[in-house]
Symmetry: C2
Subunit: 493 residues, 2 copies
């Protein structure tokens, strides 16, 4: 067999195992009885360890070296597959097996500690575990290696090639304008408040209608319910999303559009990359740019609701009786500083992320100690968001990321927001009819543009390269700030 064919075969075998792992996870969230938790963890551990063995196998090392020598004349996607597999192989090989095992054990214990600490709202119960996790993350960075800053190594896990210096520069440029915007906007757009509850079956039907409208292919995926919405891939032709339906509020709409955005990205990947390492969104930041683009840039826009608000009123005549579209739009775009990241609006959200980034960076540098986190958390929330942290549960225990051992993950949320605005700007430049089409309920037009420029390529291009190809420039905060200014000026006009 040709070298490339063997490489692809190896890739497909590994991806089949990763998809199997994803199914174990999906099923746990969607269907599994809770009593099977321990057994599922064992299944997860067994399959993960088989994957790890295949990912660091000498056989793979030899194949990659052979491919490296013979890649002349290979197509762009062929070379990309080699690059992505080699990157993964090197990442895995740099971490000693004992470190991986220790880390897995520690994060599993840490999650338990975190759960208990959050339930009792007592950070001291999580502090010792977090201290060890930070220590592990610092060692992880040393094993992985980095160009300048140890945090580079961790960022790179989620966003290939992203440097700490760059993130610092972007957040520094964002901070003042965002704090100013919050000051100006807080309280000026009244949130929506519904006296009548929404029936969950009707919510689900409306979510399905929206998903169909944006182009989610129900023949290549499905929608289910879980405690926390997520998107997963079980096969090139099987991209699934979940959602949840609370009796009050419209979170399920934005949850559906958010996960729908992730899924559109995945469903749009070209068939010739099927079930290889390239059959995936290229990075967390670019993935998030697509969920945010559909959830916020499109999904909270006047044009979108010009078409869908009458549909929503039809689906829930009691709740929306007599409500004007302008009132609805202000409500779904209300800006209000709060304590909880996942409940935050488009503007304050990035300040929540900024706080986490500053703390993570300090922890990895060793400049900040875990014991100092509660005080720092309170201080930063006061300074950037003007809110008083009332408890550890609503403070630094709200996110599971650190208990997972994930440092360097949070920044990708804001990078996603910035990239979404930047990509949207590029689309509008290309298509002067952009908003008119959306207002007419035509979402295929923007989806096709995104598919051709982003989705179809899967992981062929590195994230920075992809953004450059799509938008003509490197990632910048400029478009996002412009997008916010323009949006809120219209809403308040």
């Amino acid at each position: 067999m040709e070298t490339f064919d063997r490489l692809r075969e190896y890739s497909q075998e590994l991806i089949a195992l990763h998809h199997t792992l994803a199914l174990l996870q999906w099923d746990q969230e969607v269907r599994m009885p809770r009593r099977a938790t321990e057994g599922r963890a064992q299944q997860f551990a067994v399959v993960s360890s088989l994957i790890h063995r295949r990912e660091v196998a000498a056989e793979l090392g030899g194949l990659l070296a052979e491919a490296q020598e013979r890649q002349e004349g290979w197509s762009v996607p062929q070379r990309a597959l080699l690059r992505v597999m080699r990157r993964r192989y090197e990442q895995s090989s740099r971490l000693p097996e004992s470190f991986v095992a220790d880390f897995a054990r520690l994060t599993s214990q840490a999650q338990e500690k975190w759960l208990t600490a959050r339930e009792r709202s007592d950070f001291s119960l999580f502090q010792p575990a977090l201290e060890r996790l930070v220590e592990m993350a610092r060692r992880q960075a040393e094993y992985l290696g980095y160009p300048e800053h140890p945090y580079d190594a961790l960022l790179d896990l989620y966003e290939e090639g992203l440097a700490t210096a760059r993130v610092t520069r972007i957040f520094t440029a964002l901070r003042e304008p965002l704090v100013g915007l919050v000051d100006r906007l807080a309280g000026r757009l009244a949130p929506l408040d519904f006296a009548e509850p929404f029936a969950s079956a009707a919510q689900e039907r409306f979510a399905e209608e929206l998903l169909r409208a944006i182009g989610f292919d129900f023949n290549r995926g499905c929608l289910a319910r879980s405690a926390h919405p997520f998107t997963t891939t079980l096969d090139h032709h099987d991209r699934r999303i979940t959602n949840r339906y609370a009796p009050h509020g419209l979170d399920y709409i934005f949850g559906a559009l958010h996960e729908g955005g992730h899924a559109l990205y995945e469903q749009g990947i070209a068939e010739d990359l099927a079930n290889t390492h390239l059959d995936d969104g290229v990075s967390l930041g670019i993935h998030e740019s697509q969920s945010r683009l559909w959830e916020n840039v499109i999904g909270r826009s006047p044009a979108f609701w010009q078409h869908f608000f009458p549909e929503l009123q039809k689906a829930f005549p009691v709740q929306f009786r007599g409500m004007a579209l302008a009132r609805f739009l202000r409500g779904i775009n209300a800006v209000q500083p709060g304590l909880i990241r996942v409940d935050a609006d488009e503007v304050t959200y990035n300040l929540h992320v900024l706080i986490r980034f500053e703390l993570e960076k300090g922890l990895i540098e060793g400049r900040i100690q875990v014991a100092d986190l509660p005080a720092l958390w309170r201080e930063k929330y006061r300074r950037y968001l003007g809110v008083e942290v009332d408890s550890d549960a609503n403070g630094l225990l709200q996110d599971i990321h650190w208990a997972h051992g994930s440092f360097g993950y949070f920044p990708t949320y804001t990078l996603g927001n910035l990239a979404a605005a930047q990509i949207w700007q590029a689309y509008r430049r290309d298509d002067p009819e952009a908003e008119a089409a959306i207002a007419a309920g035509n979402l295929a037009r923007v989806r096709e543009w995104l598919t051709a420029r982003i989705y179809a390529h899967g992981s062929v291009y590195q994230p920075g390269e992809l953004l450059l190809r799509v938008s003509g420039e490197e990632l910048s905060e400029r478009h996002f700030l412009h997008y916010l200014d323009e949006k809120f000026a219209r809403l308040l006009a």
Copy 2:
């Protein structure tokens, strides 16, 4: 680590992979979009091949040999684990890897051929594949080895220790009485016929009610929908069943009780066998005895419906308005010769199985050629059931088993029916209040008896040994024939 602990650990790792495989299967039937079929097959193949490697590993061979030497002083379940793992290891090791791969490829192609042949009702399209499958099954028997008859080797895969001579004797003893019974009963009990369709949500609710009543634990499993009902185990605490709901008829009730019976068996296995090779029903025949016991012996009995018929009438007032219990009981026990095994009643069912057994035995002996099957099928259906086979689709293409490469599987269905009657007889001997309890809606009593004597033991005892312990005698057709005589005498009284 002690030898036994290492053995158990090895067992649990393998079972975790088997449960993962079961999840891939479950999800395919219950949720997966059809377009993902090819990718799922690849996942299945990758995980299966990892399992196979672990099942024939020299490491396991060494561990089994070591355990064999040190088993003195081990408990009964500990020695049973060794025995079952060794049996599995030897079965796997006897089949050359190239044979396993060829067989897998052939059955996968054969299933496609079978599907097409069935759709076009043309056996000739399946005939070449079946010829190769029979040839493979004969080679398989030679690799596996057998005491007397090559078919012994195949029977033993599904029913440990079962001999062809014994099955032949039992079927010979069944044939005349069953044919006679069909003659006497055909047409004397009118089937039920409903003008009004049943709403599928209401059917599902009633099925759930029945499952709760017989003791299916919804905290350790769930009920879903699929094209064909089945039961599967994904963890010691996760035993799942599926059912289907046609707008007419009551098949869903007996489907639920049948799969419920399988699931009760699995849910009843003792916790100290959890997720090992012993955490499973001991054989297909014993498993089927429990599904049939709940579906037929209990689920079609006057006592059962004395309690549940009023509930059924409440759930479907239109359909059962004015119907007497006696009429209902005759309807659900109607005997009517037909062409299709899965639609058959309790009496004729075993004649369908008998026909398949006679043909399989002849094929494996080489006495029957695949080309002769259509004529033989027609002749036997005429002789034993008095019906004319109108097409290949309603004839020898109706079952998928041969396309799966499964020969020796069919007899276990009838052995299950016989064992169910034999076990029921033993229970009634032990509990004179048996029927009264059921008539009062108390199903815990019989379930607890079955759990203590059968379910809890998982695969600790060999099937023949288990039946002997439970009923005091070896498998016999006597109790089943007696059960039928008694039942129909009462129904016709």
